[in-house]
Assembly symmetry: D2
């Protein structure tokens, strides 16, 4: 019977719900070396967090994150809060010697993220930033095909992350639309994901050149929020983040790429999609059909070449052996379960699984470079 | 805080895993009127069932189903075993006054299924047969569109359930290929699902005419099995069920339909797909893309008519409000969670949710009619 | 410079337009051994046929098909009229020693078609029945993949030909809805095409069992017709053909199949689609995307299996070298150009290209068997 | 009976073949106000051009374009040659008072294109530059939906033109890879098309910022060429054009856009695809499926929103009434037929149809701006 690790989770809304599910599910499907105990969940609103604890299966709740981080029985601190609080919580958790799972992006500024990286490295704790889309089985397959040389030398990366949840100008000014809380808009929220996928699959980025755009500059203040939903009040406030971010990139390898993140792609609910073209093949992925990967191989016979749609649900596919028979698809939330699985293995092995905080810093430096490029109107190297 | 109901589950393999997940998850996402307690799981193999209990979160295990059915604390008996045992367990559970969730098909023969229906009706227990695909949100949407008259009068039903897991002639003779255990082959295993969907969406079937086919008549006996996987031994045995079943149907409404269930559709892992054509519109569904529904409306303007792909992940879609934001897809296993949700509501309301055992009998009578038609070579009315 | 052959074409509407295009285009793209001269076009309505001659590029027109067939300079008679006239024209043309291209289906009855076959064989002329969908390059590729064993032993054939042009009950009673002119409805018009594709790709059919359905039994008489379009008059008449035809089949090879032809599939304009499952692979085609073929190969590595979408526009694909660069798709009418190309080669080689009149008879015998099965309610062997 | 206009066409290879087809076909399908006579075709290679004349149906051939332009009987000069010759031919044709159809891009430099515009305007001739993809019926439908406000205010333009015909480093250095003949590489060849579509559908571009990339810097010299195909010699030469061009853009309307043109997208034969997101809807097009348009409308009911795939083959769709019944798709070459149709109408009306030479200049200025941006590394306004 596996040892256990007690988890303290800060944050209980959208990400809190997804992380809770992962802790509840991981040992029911995988042979984990360490069973996570859902010990304490933490949030500022007592009524909200106590109800969340009850519904999602946490033993206790707290309204004081410092108390949670300070508890000697807790082995893992999970940071599922908005970006403006990541820094303070992570610094405290590292100092307290806790292992950490931190939602992305790592921090709201490049500088903060660097100090967080230093802190966890000095503390010697296992720490991971949760760019969960690396752990979609189809994305893992993409990585394997690339590493095995199946698409040859990569020439092109072409990624979009398209959403449409704020197309309505009356959609209220939730925290994700406020720079002081969210750091940035589409860029940091969803652009960060495709930047992480680009580094994971194609490699380091040398230079970027891009633009940021805010289509709707003023919105009603929110009256109340639940997850991504919110009702509007009569007062209005300034939108201080980007609605859309586009940038071009030159990779260290010689490949070139384009990135687009927007919340104004009407009809695209959650289209996180990339295409990679190599000298011998190509790969296409779309999160809305996350159980599929398209793969083109120039090694197929000339009369029978084409993009094949692989249903990534076989036992041979990473993470899939634990779930259901072939063709029985899995849902979005399992990307978190896979993250937790690898984190637990990392904790036992005393090695931070990728994406580490160092990876988180790299992403932050890319986002920062995009913002500087948007301001300067030219090409900028991530620092 | 909700009351609880103690569950005793018979069977712990493929279906047992899916049902366990539903009991573990339902209250974490839905406001249930009754919380299921995962009290006892039952199977013949002590090592197997005890490991399953441990991994899947059951408090106790048992190797004696009669003992489980006899326990006074148990309020719900879940039958997740192969079809040959459904009858005996369900009869005992009904006599013991237990509510029942029974995997499909209800029984291996029409006669057994009828007696099961009588038993639960006499006992006054809540009983449901788990044709889980009714509870895919996209299928629920199909039903709503039809009921709202959005596709008009239905003319055509066209359904296939295509799998390919026994294409290899050396795939061993697992229980699903043995008539005494499974009742029938593709017909009862997957054909039953599309028959249930046809009744749910189009209505009663008056007549069928079909064929059954066994492509591979002899297979190696299994050495050991795990879920759908199995290794082969040197000995061989007769395949006693159909590999494929095709039939045409006339519905009571005047619509006509075709059905095909096969385990020999190379490349189709789990394609449970239907198309419905009505006088004003059409609907298409495919389980491999179960978060999508295609809908064509003749009411669209002439220049802009076409099949639209609806991503059935909105809050307005049945069952979806509890899960994730729009565009964040759910997996196959949640069909079971939805079944359990509705069953729990049914238990509180003391009303068996559809598909009831009476529905199960109807399906059994259709399968029986197909078998008789295949034998006689003509049209047969379900009894 | 190639020799020429003078063509006399009977019929000038939908099929006449498609055939005219083929004669006008074939030598501009292919190196033909014989250049077709568009000598005379024939129809009953003088105004109509003279305008058609002018627009479509025929040198002369005639209103008397017997005169055309009797002209000594004409080397090829093209029969593009409704089915009730095929017999008389083809018999006369064969007697006059003319080569023949006859639209499908060959005749309105099995008996007529047999006499037509005998006549052309006795006359020693080259004769072809124009099941044009054999000559879609993607269908040719399907044939090549099958012949090369790429999908192994065929188990399943699954074909639909879905249209929706008479869903409106007020669509008038055009000739295609009258048994004395059209022979049958969806069965002979579009079901004949998928029957021909089944024979071409899978082989001979041993037995069929099916149903015919007429949803709308009475319609307004047409006031005037243009191609498939027509306006309605106030009077009404009986629909004497099937709106839909469904049948199951057993192939001589042991494969089993399903066929559906309907004019009531709302939203499906011209979906002539088939799927073939073999022991090692599968193939899918859809005429609405006729430049594509889907192909699944079980020989692909286990982690990278999937249906690939082949864009059948390469120089290596049959017929495609003459058209445009890869990825530049061709249209529906080129199936006719390909038929004429092969016919011209056949005339020079003095060998009737498939589908020959013998093939046409086979299809007629299948249609006849389906009609008998629909009447008797059981399995019927094509005679 | 329509009047006629005598055409002299310069160039006889890929574009010459496509244009010839358009002249041969247009009057057979459309009621033209002026019938084009295929009078003379011109090329430098006597054997090549005489064979082309013979095969494609031109009455005469010439090896001297000046002689053709100087013929008094010729009313329309068609320029289907590589870009480096457009200027000289067009200037002479304008001076000679001929109407002109010029292949895109208009010229190899912005300056040349401006002088061509002036020349045709001064001469008062009808002149058109053939950005043929405006005349895909699905693109016309996109335009109509936009103009009717069906997608609201446009926010995003996202276009790629992906090809893969020079992925192989041994593919020879054909004229399209030489700057002095082709002007630029992917940018001018295919990037020009998506720039034209952007202007047509979204409007004027204020600023661009982009990059050009040449992946393979040296290639074998061609031994012989046929259309896009060529064999390689042992000698090698420098590739002097871009293999790929990417740029971002700000539209005058406030919309933002991304553009990518590449010949290195392995597996993408001819994927000219765009997506437009507006405040109320979205549109998607892909040339490889050119008979389809995807359309999303936020005006659909909340539970039934999705991208619908419109098969743009109805009589109500622009240009389609002349072709085949619904669902019978047309091929790539008909975009040229539609261009010629509109040009003939323009000649009769004495009005140059769009895209005019002024439009050609606009595109040239955008290409020029992209090249300057790629050199300077910043945002550049088209002049």
């Amino acid at each position: 019977m596996a040892d256990t690790i007690k988890v303290g989770m800060i944050g209980y809304k959208f990400m809190g719900k997804a992380h809770s599910n992962a802790y509840r599910q991981v040992a029911a499907f995988y042979d984990v070396p360490l069973r996570p105990e859902m010990t304490v969940i933490c949030g500022r609103d007592k009524a909200g967090v106590s109800a969340a604890a009850e519904q999602m299966g946490w033993k206790e709740y707290s309204t004081d994150w410092k108390e949670v981080v300070g508890r000697p029985d807790i082995g893992l601190i999970d940071i599922s809060t908005p970006g403006d609080t990541h820094y303070e919580i992570a610094m405290a958790a590292a100092q307290a010697g806790k292992n950490i799972l931190c939602e992305k992006p790592l921090a709201n500024t490049l500088d903060e993220s660097r100090r967080m990286q230093e802190a966890v490295e000095q503390a010697g704790v296992v720490a991971m930033v949760n760019f969960n889309y690396r752990r979609v089985p189809a994305v893992q397959l993409a990585k394997q095909l690339i590493d095995a040389g199946r698409i040859g030398e990569i020439r092109h990366w072409r990624a979009v992350y398209l959403q449409d949840w704020i197309v309505d100008p009356e959609f209220p000014l939730v925290w994700r639309l406020q720079k002081d809380l969210a750091g940035s808009g589409a860029l940091g929220d969803i652009g960060a994901h495709i930047a992480d996928l680009a580094r994971f699959l194609v490699g380091e980025i040398d230079e970027v050149c891009g633009l940021l755009k805010t289509f709707i500059k003023e919105r009603p203040l929110p009256a109340a929020t639940t997850g991504l939903s919110a009702s509007a009040s009569a007062e209005r406030g300034q939108v201080t983040v980007d609605d859309a971010a586009l940038f071009l990139a030159r990779f260290a390898s010689g490949a070139i790429g384009s990135f687009e993140a927007t919340r104004f792609a009407t009809g695209r609910r959650n289209r996180n999609s990339f295409e990679i073209n190599g000298s011998r093949g190509s790969i296409v992925f779309d999160l809305e059909r996350m159980n599929e990967l398209q793969f083109y191989s120039a090694d197929d016979p000339p009369e029978a070449q084409g993009f094949r749609t692989i249903l990534v649900t076989e036992g041979v596919h990473t993470y899939m052996n634990a779930w259901w028979p072939p063709g029985h698809i899995i849902g979005w939330e399992h990307t978190f379960t896979h993250s937790v699985l690898d984190l637990l293995n990392g904790i036992v092995a005393k090695e931070s699984p990728a994406p580490t905080f160092a990876d988180g810093v790299h992403i932050q430096s890319i986002l920062d470079a995009v913002e500087r490029s948007a301001a300067s109107g030219g090409w900028v190297r991530p620092e």
